[in-house]
Symmetry: C2
Subunit: 374 residues, 2 copies
């Protein structure tokens, strides 16, 4: 049976310690019983994780990198079990972090990957070159009418995507279905006037037994995508939608609630894995994350590594758009361009909402500034 592999960073002092820790992970992630009682034959030969390589780690954390391979037979046919093999109970170990991953055939059957990816999103937006732009309607507490009015003005200003704030759920001030219809209409009306192809992206993050319904309601209402927060609703919702031939909208992923998975460099997942590789496995088309230089602590290098995870070769899965949010101003454009080039979707929030008196004009100026090539 085909095998895939995961590269773990291990904070050990010696190669021998790293090997011992890797052997613990190979057990923990698969059979979860002591080594001496692992049944011989199929379980020992196929199911048990296999250490493929131990190498010194080059970055400032020191330690070692361990490549461990697992069999497609460990997974069966479901994605949560793939993630459980990648970093199940070992997520509870300190000084252990998932760095990167190599796919197998079995994974590619479970995870067809993003339906749109970068090229599909560009085609949908009618923007062949340069960064894409996404605005957010907010805050929670505005009425449906106020939110739809914001969406309308963002669309008139030529934003490519207008998404719900991730806090907009089904509050009485702007219930999901009302908001969906009002904002879809508002953006459609603006598109009819401008000729732009702005897409409204409602937040479908919600109850587990209603989230697929919300996704399809969005599609039927003419929304241009859906947004969800995998760390809240689980990592299989996007995967199931992207694998469903009946579902035809792009998927945007939001990082809320998942910070602990990445912000401690010796724990959880590398930025590249969590905001890149994992998103493509889930079939996400654009991934929101906190930009460097904003109010969160991601470094420029970490953001660059996210771009790498979004665009590197990954078993035929389409590359996707990194969507850094926060910290985007006219003054920072040269810096952003140097970091991201053209392959990016900028998420602009508060900076635009400041310009309420001429929101359409502010959007237009931003669009021109971002798209002007130097």
């Amino acid at each position: 049976m085909a095998r895939f592999s995961v590269t773990y960073w291990l904070g050990t002092a010696s190669e021998a310690d790293a090997r011992a820790r890797a052997e613990e992970i190979a057990l923990e992630q698969t059979v979860e019983i002591p080594r001496d009682i692992v049944p011989s034959g199929f379980v020992e030969d196929e199911i048990l994780g296999r250490i493929e390589a131990i190498t010194p780690n080059a970055d400032t954390r020191g330690g070692y990198l361990a490549d461990i391979s697992y069999s497609d037979d460990d997974i069966g046919d479901d994605f949560p079990q793939l993630l459980n093999i990648v970093f199940g109970n070992s997520s509870i170990r300190r000084d252990t972090r998932v760095e990167t991953m190599r796919l197998s055939e079995g994974i590619q059957r479970i995870c067809p990957g993003p339906r749109f990816g970068i090229d599909g999103l560009r085609k949908r937006a009618g923007v062949e070159q340069g960064p894409l732009l996404m605005a957010a309607i907010k805050p929670v507490g505005l009425s449906t009418r106020q939110l739809a009015d914001l969406a309308h003005r963002f669309a008139l200003g030529g934003m490519d995507f207008v998404k719900d704030d991730h806090g907009l759920a089904n509050q009485p001030t702007a219930p999901f279905l009302d908001r969906l219809k009002a904002c879809t209409d508002a953006v459609g009306d603006a598109n009819a006037r401008t000729g732009f192809s702005t897409a409204y992206v409602p937040n479908i993050t919600g109850p587990a037994d209603r989230i697929f319904e919300r996704a399809f309601l969005a599609q039927e209402s003419g929304a241009g995508g859906v947004m969800l927060a995998p760390s809240l609703v689980g990592f299989d919702v996007a995967r199931a939608l992207s694998a469903d031939p009946e579902f035809t909208l792009p998927i945007v992923s939001h990082p809320t609630f998942g910070g602990a998975h990445v912000i401690t460099p010796t724990t959880g997942f590398s930025h590249k894995f969590f905001f890149g590789i994992l998103q493509r496995l889930m079939g996400v088309d654009a991934v929101v994350y906190p930009n460097f230089g904003g109010r969160f602590s991601f470094s420029r290098d970490e953001c660059r590594s996210i771009v790498d995870g979004c665009t590197m070769d990954l078993g035929g899965l389409k590359p996707i758009l990194p969507a850094p949010g926060g910290g985007m101003t006219f003054e920072r454009l040269p810096e952003m361009r140097a970091a991201y080039g053209d392959t990016v979707m900028y998420l602009i929030g508060g900076a635009l909402l400041r310009e309420q008196s001429d929101l359409v004009g502010a959007c237009s100026r931003l669009r021109e500034a971002v798209r002007t090539r130097h």
Copy 2:
């Protein structure tokens, strides 16, 4: 509108810094726009988080504790949005940790809480006093027949609950439906012989569009509970099941994939919140976590705080059973008894599987040793 509150630990050097950070959290978790453009009236008065208290933190981390209250209007009617308010984007901030929480009426409407809780599980198991016992069938790679045979012997030995290993999903060696039927029958057959009420608890962690189906298949097949991993499948699945009058089985929660949420003391959630308060909000009846003294790094105090989160007064939600796994041996019984008393369900894995030659006898001896009062 009623308000609930969250207590955050903040790793700041001064009370003024703590207050400034708390103000950032109050914004970030609700309106997510700069303070000076928060609309006056309802949004500013109700939706915006409100700092209720800042106090010095007493434990070795130093820093401060900030109580921030939020309105039920922030949430609407769904649980993921409650969690998004509790710790959405602020989860991406370092030196910020959720410590505890006070509920409101709105939350109690969304979260009816555990259906069984401690008393319900005791009644189901027919064990009025003393710790309960749970064994796990494993490893992945065994056939359905081999797993069912293990379940049978655990039941003959009088384990109260026999659960799937959390890695058992829908692999070809033991597909979910085959395993469910074989193990339910095996345990039922043992109960008929012994008079015990052992419950088989299949792992329903699986694809988002099939997990509710798996839960109800378990119920229809006569299983005695279901197990799921909220960090993988999302935090609303258990809540939806516990709130569904058609669903009548106890729910066991497994910690896999979620380690990063707790293991860094300055990030994520306190053990008390994550393995206690959150589980009760989700409607979980018993929560598995790594025991102290095992192969993970939880301290005795952290485990004691989990017991506190499982049993403290919490807006009328039933107390639930902590289910520490790992490190349980005959030698450690006095130590375990001192830490947990009677209100506990011990999860025994590898230690029992070592006793293949007389598994039934080993279970019986363990049961007697655990239930003997000193």
